[in-house]
Symmetry: none
Subunit: 163 residues, 2 copies
DNA sequence: TTATTCTTGACTTATACTGACCAAAATTAT
DNA sequence: ATAATTTTGGTCAGTATAAGTCAAGAATAA
C-alpha cells in the first residue's frame, strides 16, 4: 500500500500511457528531447522510463531512430486471447519448473490455441538456450535452473497476456 | 509538443516502395537525376536512401549502370527455400549483435512479415532476459553479451525458418 | 541500515543531408 | 577507328541533429 508518491518517472509514465490511450492505434511517436524539456529533466530520464515501464515484459515494443528526424515510437500490443487465463497460467508456472513440466505446459497452451506452433517453438528455443548457458557456461545448479526457467516462462507468458 | 516530422529519406523510400508494389515483378528502374529533381534534393540523396532502406538486410538488391541511358534497378528479394532464408538471416545477425541492432533487425523482419508482432515480442523478452542475466547475475562482459545475443537470435530465427 | 529505484550528466553512437570530386558508358567529332 | 564530349551514376567526407549508454550519486522503500 503506497501513498500517492509521484516520482518524475511515474508522471512521465502516465503521460505516455495517456497518449497511448488517446491514440486508438495503440502506437505513438515521441521526441526524446521534447519530452525531457516538457518535464524539465535530462533526456536519458526518458530512456529510464521506457526501460522500466514500457518493456516487452509489459506488452510494449519500443522502436527508435537517432540522428536527424529521430524519434521514439512506443507500441502497445493488444491481443484478444483470454488474458485471465494466461495470467492464471503464469501462476501455474510457480517459482520453479522443470524442463518436462514446461514442455507439457506449452503443448497444452498450443493445443488450446493460446499460442501458435511458431510461438511455442520460439519459447522452447529460448528456454533451451537459457538451460544450456546455465548448465555449461555458468555452472548453475539444477534447481536454480528451474527457478530461472520459471522466471523466463512467466515473463514471456505475461508479456503475451498484457495488452 | 511537435510530432516527429517525416524525413525526405522516408518520403523517397515510400515513393520507391509504392512503385515496387504497383509493379508486379518486384523490380523497378529509376533515373537518379529525375528522382532527385522530383524531390528537390541532391542526387547523392538517392544513394543514401537506397543504401539505408533498400539494402540486402531489408530484402532488396540494387543494380545500376552509369553513362548514357544509365539506370538504377531495385529488386525485391525472394527466397526459394528455407535453407536459403536461414543462411541469409544468420548472415544478417553475424557473430555479434548489439541490443540496438537486434531491435532494428526485428522491426525489419516484422515489417517484412517474416515474424508477427507477438513473435517479435516473445523474442525481445527472451533477448532482454538473457541480457539481464548476463549483466547482473553472471557478470558477462558487454562484448560477450553481444556474442550470446547473436547466438540466441540465430537459434530462434533458424528454428522459425526451418520449422 | 540496507536495498532498490530514481535522476543526472558526460560521453558515445547513429542518421540525414549536402556538395565536391570521381568513374563509367554512350554519343559525337575528328 | 579514336579521341573528345556528354551523360549518367558512385563515393566520401563534413555538418548538423538526435538518441543510447553507463556509472555514480540522491532519494525512497523495506
Amino acid at each position: 500500500m503506497s501513498l500517492p508518491s509521484s516520482s518524475l518517472t511515474q508522471i512521465i509514465e502516465e503521460y505516455i500511457a495517456q497518449l497511448l490511450e488517446e491514440n486508438e492505434v495503440g502506437e505513438i511517436s515521441l521526441r526524446r528531447k521534447d519530452l525531457a524539456e516538457r518535464f524539465g529533466c535530462v533526456p536519458s530520464q526518458i530512456n529510464y522510463v521506457l526501460r522500466s515501464r514500457f518493456a516487452p515484459e509489459n506488452g510494449f515494443l519500443v522502436e527508435s531512430q537517432r540522428g536527424g528526424h529521430g524519434y521514439i515510437k512506443v507500441i502497445q500490443l493488444t491481443f484478444n486471447n483470454c488474458d485471465e487465463e494466461v495470467v492464471h497460467l503464469a501462476d501455474l508456472v510457480g517459482n520453479a519448473i522443470t524442463e518436462q513440466e514446461s514442455r507439457k505446459l506449452l503443448v497444452n497452451l498450443q493445443n488450446r490455441d493460446v499460442i501458435s506452433p511458431r510461438e511455442r517453438l520460439i519459447i522452447e528455443v529460448a528456454l533451451r538456450s537459457q538451460e544450456e548457458n546455465g548448465r555449461s557456461l555458468f555452472d548453475v545448479s539444477p534447481y536454480r535452473r528451474d527457478l530461472m526457467r520459471a522466471e523466463l516462462l512467466k515473463k514471456i507468458l505475461t508479456s503475451l497476456a498484457l495488452g
